[in-house]
């Protein structure tokens, strides 16, 4: 076990899709309580990078270490990597609460069933306890009244808040947000950002891929700017947005505003 304050350490991550190299060696360390915002233009590799952390995309090279435990990888025989121990990956994934751009709630379950599914059927928590925790979480994200509704009957913002409650229910070490507001109508973005902002305030470790620059500036403790599969610049949000050093970041920020 290394330093326990280190929640995630990613070193020299590469990802190739055929001839296209999307990530060209990205390293990132998140300490406990960090809120890291990853920004960058489309095609910069930021979503791919996030999905490599919990191995939804298999990196072509590099290591991922969660809470001091490095995910064991071996060669897949085609110049890439694959996990050498599926059980280890599954165990580590239960410590990472992922929130997707398109919510990905299970449509055949009610909101509450979605929230308690992983605690009960993956973590082996007794059902009544999971329901208790689940209802408390739904109250937090303001969906307690909707707990018996099916996802198809909720607005996008409500679905995303339910998805956040689902991710929180596993009591994750780190929360991963993959563009959580990009699929929402503009008027629904606020309610989701409020929930994420509250989580940031209570010093939850989070890695957040986002297009909401204003939000990133407010809640992030650290901002990473990805460009063409490499970290172009990183630092505290005030510096990044107030006094960007690299030309590309300057251009990117001015194109957003």
């Amino acid at each position: 076990m290394t330093d326990s304050a280190q929640a995630i350490e990613i070193s020299n991550l590469h990802k190739r899709f055929g001839p296209l190299e999307v990530l060209k060696g990205v390293s990132l360390t998140a300490n406990q309580g960090d809120v890291i915002a990853i920004i960058g233009g489309s095609g910069s590799g930021k979503s791919t990078f996030l999905r490599c952390i919990n191995l939804l995309e298999l990196p072509s090279a590099g290591t991922v270490t969660i809470h001091g435990e490095t995910i064991a990888m071996k060669s897949d025989g085609h110049g890439g990597l694959m996990p050498s121990n599926r059980r280890q990956v599954q165990r580590i994934r239960t410590q990472l609460g992922m929130v997707f751009q398109s919510f990905n709630l299970w449509q055949h379950m009610t909101v509450l069933q979605n929230v308690i599914e992983v605690p009960v059927h993956v973590l082996g928590m007794p059902k009544d306890k999971a329901v208790e925790i689940g209802e408390a979480l739904l109250r937090r994200v303001g969906l307690y009244e909707k707990r018996d509704a099916y996802p198809a009957f909720l607005s996008g913002g409500q679905q995303q808040r339910a998805a956040i409650a689902r991710a929180l229910a596993i009591q994750p070490l780190v929360m991963l947000f993959d563009e959580p507001t990009s699929a929402l109508d503009p008027e629904l973005v606020g309610e989701v950002l409020t929930v994420i902002g509250d989580l940031a305030k209570e010093k939850r470790t989070m890695i957040l891929v986002t297009h909401e620059m204003k939000f990133a500036r407010e809640v992030a403790s650290h901002v990473v700017f990805l460009h063409n599969g490499l970290i172009e610049e990183q630092g505290p949000p005030a510096e990044m947005f107030g006094a960007p050093k690299s030309e590309r970041l300057k251009k990117f920020i001015s194109s957003i505003h």
């Binding site: 939804l56 599954q90 994934r93 449509q107 099916y150």
Partner: protein, 271 residues
């Protein structure tokens, strides 16, 4: 913004039509006369005599329907699954099986299995002396197997589409939370696929009900066979057949209501 906007024509919703409009009253009267004629002028006095056998026949039809549908569905799940997940040789095998069964008439399959397999079995003393022979000597196992295989092949195709149609993101979410592969299949993929396939399965089960009378051609006694017997005994043509139509209609209606109930337990919107 004082531009003149032409007023839209006022929308008048169509008047709710009453049941008592003249042309409807006329049609109701015609229908009532037909029913009256059927009941009054046709011969129904044979029903009490055959009541017991008819109920037995209905029971046999329902047993045959549900046993083959349930067993067939259990085969359909792996048939659909391997076509989506592979491995390739298994997928081809499943595809070939579904194509073969779906591409040939059910009656032909039934006769091939009953007359073909049945006579082959009878040639082997090992089989004739085995504990299975008392069953293999009867007709219903062949009817059961044929109907089950047929249902499995059609539903295998339906389940293939249903498995493939479950949104990738939902599967991915289950993976991202560390779900094991079997748990993912049992908790997310399969129930989601069945949910998607339910409306189709309703229709297929109704079709299966209407395939069951074919077993009467290999001497299995279902409700159709009982009605045939009535026709032979009484020399009546229309009355037994009309009753048979009514029986199938009622069974279909009850099945559709039951399936709707199950479907509505998980409401869907849009899709």
């Amino acid at each position: 913004m004082s531009e003149h906007v032409p007023a839209l024509p006022v929308y008048t919703p169509p008047k709710a039509r009453s049941l008592l409009e003249p042309h409807r009253l006329f049609l109701i009267a015609v229908f009532a006369v037909i029913i009256f004629c059927i009941v009054w002028f046709m011969r129904w006095d044979w029903i009490p005599q055959y009541q017991g056998r008819l109920l037995y026949g209905i029971g046999q039809t329902l047993i045959l329907l549900f046993s083959t549908a349930i067993a067939g569905f259990l085969f359909a799940v792996p048939l659909g699954l391997v076509q989506v997940t592979g491995p390739r040789p298994l997928a081809w095998l499943a595809k070939g099986f579904c194509t073969l069964i779906r591409g040939t008439p059910l009656l032909l399959q039934l006769w091939l299995i009953y007359y073909g397999l049945g006579s082959i079995f009878a040639q082997y003393p090992e089989i004739r002396q085995s504990f299975l022979w008392p069953y293999l000597r009867q007709a219903w196992p062949y009817g059961f197997v044929t109907l089950m295989i047929s249902f499995a092949a059609y539903e295998g195709e339906v389940m293939r589409g249903a498995f493939a149609g479950v949104p990738k993101g939902e599967i991915e979410a289950a993976k991202a939370f560390g779900m094991r592969r079997f748990t993912l299949f049992r908790r997310i993929w399969l129930p989601r696929a069945i949910h998607r396939a339910l409306p189709t399965l309703t229709g297929e089960t109704v079709l299966q009900l209407k395939s069951t009378p074919l077993v009467a051609t290999i001497t299995v006694i279902d409700v159709y066979a009982v009605i045939s017997k009535v026709r032979q005994d009484t020399y009546l043509t229309y009355e037994p057949l009309l009753l048979l139509a009514l029986i199938y209609l009622c069974l279909t209606g009850m099945m559709i209501v039951a399936f709707r109930f199950v479907e509505n337990r998980i409401p869907t919107r849009g899709a």
